[in-house]
């Protein structure tokens, strides 16, 4: 009960900070929209190539974009935490009886809510391009994005608490996210990839989320890849949350 109250209080604080600067929602959604407008048309002509999944270019590409948004939208949230470390805010909270779980979860919920707003904008913008999706499918995909957001935000916060400086945090995030992106099949489906590349990609949890989202967008809600994608994201998110909560509880220099 106290924990829930703490989560709510921490969430409200960060939601309040976000509301002062809602421009971030638009900035965050700008990149996927650019992909949608400037990259997706290229896929139209190769959608006929053997090995390209069925469903048409947009129903294949937009789910990937949404997953990308979920992952990378949350990967950078640690930056704001480093500024707070420097201002002594984290230390101040750690001396209060506030739950350590709430310190993470209150923030992460704000991040997730922001991602969901962005994802909804992206889906709506994709409709005129010929995206087909029904309401249940949207909910499943949003749930998947929320899990990925929680996973990435937790890892991002844990790294920020560990590194404590933007100078080392930024290269870490950029270096770690690029292979995740390339091996996820977001840009081009991995069904086009040679066998060895597909084998490496199989180790990338993100690729399962992309598969799951594509299955949903192609009206295969019951497909095993959906369960698999959600389950993998969920289990990893639990581990990431545990790691980040521990970091919030531990000593900071």
């Amino acid at each position: 009960m106290k924990t829930l109250r703490d989560v709510w209080l921490v969430f409200l604080r960060y939601w309040g900070i976000f509301i002062r600067n809602p421009a971030w929602v638009v900035i965050g959604v700008l990149q996927p929209v650019l992909y949608l407008v400037l990259f997706a048309p290229l896929l139209k002509s190769i959608a006929a190539v053997p090995g390209f999944p069925r469903g048409g270019a947009y129903n294949v590409f937009v789910p990937g974009l949404l997953i990308q948004l979920g992952m990378f939208g949350a990967a950078g949230v640690g930056f704001s935490l480093i500024a707070e470390l420097r201002a002594g805010v984290v230390e101040r909270f750690r001396v209060t009886p506030v739950s350590r779980f709430a310190l993470l979860m209150g923030r992460a919920l704000r991040d997730i809510l922001m991602l969901l707003m962005q994802a909804t904008i992206l889906i709506v913008l994709s409709l005129p391009f010929g995206l087909n999706i029904h309401f249940t499918g949207v909910l499943v995909v949003l749930a998947l994005i929320a899990l990925l957001g929680l996973l990435m935000a937790s890892i991002s916060y844990a790294c920020a608490l560990w590194l404590k400086s933007e100078d080392s945090f930024a290269p870490l995030i950029f270096t770690a996210t690029l292979p995740l992106l390339l091996l996820s099949g977001v840009l081009l489906p991995l069904s086009l990839a040679p066998g060895w590349l597909r084998n490496i990609a199989a180790a990338n949890p993100l690729s399962y989320a992309v598969d799951a989202a594509r299955a949903v967008f192609n009206d295969h809600l019951g497909d095993v890849s959906v369960e698999k994608g959600v389950l993998i994201a969920g289990v990893l998110a639990i581990f990431a949350v545990a790691l980040a909560v521990r970091s919030f509880g531990r000593a900071l220099a």
Partner: protein, 321 residues
């Protein structure tokens, strides 16, 4: 609460391990801080002040030793310690993007206060700390002094009986510093025990009822600023009389309140005494009785720097520079 030990430590230690070496930042500290006093921790940067304070405020796990803080065992009940203490870190703790009022209200609620209570208490503190004018502006618009007062307000929201202040006046201009000293004294007078660290001699001297001097992770001296200075050499009274120093010197040498007397080149007599304030009347009476005319008399006290110098062989002013 007054007079009882609010903080008690026995052999408190903290070791930091880096890749190459092990550093003992705090090497066995025994302390007692009593209810209702301003207790200062004085020492150069890196002496172990902040590390000790962070251990006592549950931010850092001790590597060894024991401590009781606000009636609770530090290692076994850190949660209960947190409920009872206030802490204001060196870096402050308020977010530049959030208004002072919102910071205070949130802080109160994190300690379990209801929204109404918290709003009311925040208004009270904003009034007392004279922050009403900027209460609803975001923190980035505050002056250094305002920011510091807000940080202290945040530490006071839940009305703790024990407040930790880590380097509270570092970086403040002299005016804001004096203002903050007044605030600390007012808190003490209202019954709050204050544990602060500082590397300013003047601050330790002016503000603290008792203090401990720490160097290389060890306490080298402890007591009230006056006691500490007296331990060093006592006070010095310099007396100038008409008719030269010889006669006066002979007169003073026999007195039991004078530890040592010497004639100075400028014709004055330098007397080392136990307590300057009681020695001065005696000196005046003595001169009067012997009908010697007093021309000048000055009392100088050793500074805390002399204490530090004597205990560590180094001057704090040099170490700090």
């Amino acid at each position: 609460m007054t007079g009882e030990a609010v903080i008690e430590t026995r052999g408190l230690r903290r070791v930091f391990k880096t890749r190459k070496e092990t550093v003992e930042a705090v090497a066995g500290v025994d302390l007692r801080v009593f209810g209702g006093e301003v207790f200062g921790f004085l020492g150069p940067n890196g002496a172990g002040k902040t590390t000790t304070l962070r251990m006592l405020s549950t931010l850092l796990q001790p590597s060894g030793g024991e401590a009781t803080v606000a009636g609770c065992d530090l290692r076994r009940e850190p949660g209960r310690v947190r409920e009872r203490i206030g802490y204001v870190g060196q870096k402050g703790g308020s977010d530049p993007q959030v208004s002072g009022r919102d910071e205070l209200i949130l802080q109160g609620r994190l300690y379990g206060m209801s929204k109404g209570e918290s709003v009311q208490r925040a208004a009270e503190l904003l009034n007392v700390l004279e922050l009403e004018d900027c209460a609803d502006r975001v923190g980035s618009t505050y002056s250094g002094g305002q920011r510091r007062r807000l940080d202290i307000g945040i530490g006071l929201m839940h009305g703790p009986r024990l407040l930790f202040l880590d380097e509270p006046t570092t970086g403040l201009d002299p005016q804001s510093r004096a203002r903050l000293w007044d605030e600390v004294r007012r808190l003490r007078d209202s019954g709050t025990t204050i544990f602060l660290t500082t590397h300013y001699l003047e601050e330790a001297d002016a503000l603290c009822d008792r203090l401990a001097i720490i160097d290389h992770g060890r306490i080298v001296a402890e007591g009230s600023p006056d006691d500490l200075k007296r331990q060093v050499a006592g006070d010095v009274v310099t007396v100038g009389v008409s008719g030269g120093a010889e006669e006066a010197l002979k007169l003073f040498e026999g007195q039991d309140f004078v530890r040592e007397a010497s004639a100075q080149a400028d014709g004055t007599v330098r007397l080392y005494v136990e307590r300057g304030e009681t020695a001065m009347p005696a000196i005046l009476r003595l001169l009067d009785r012997e009908s010697l005319e007093l021309k000048t008399i000055t009392l100088t006290r050793p500074s805390l720097d002399d204490v530090f110098l004597r205990q560590t062989g180094r001057s704090l002013r040099e170490v700090a520079a």
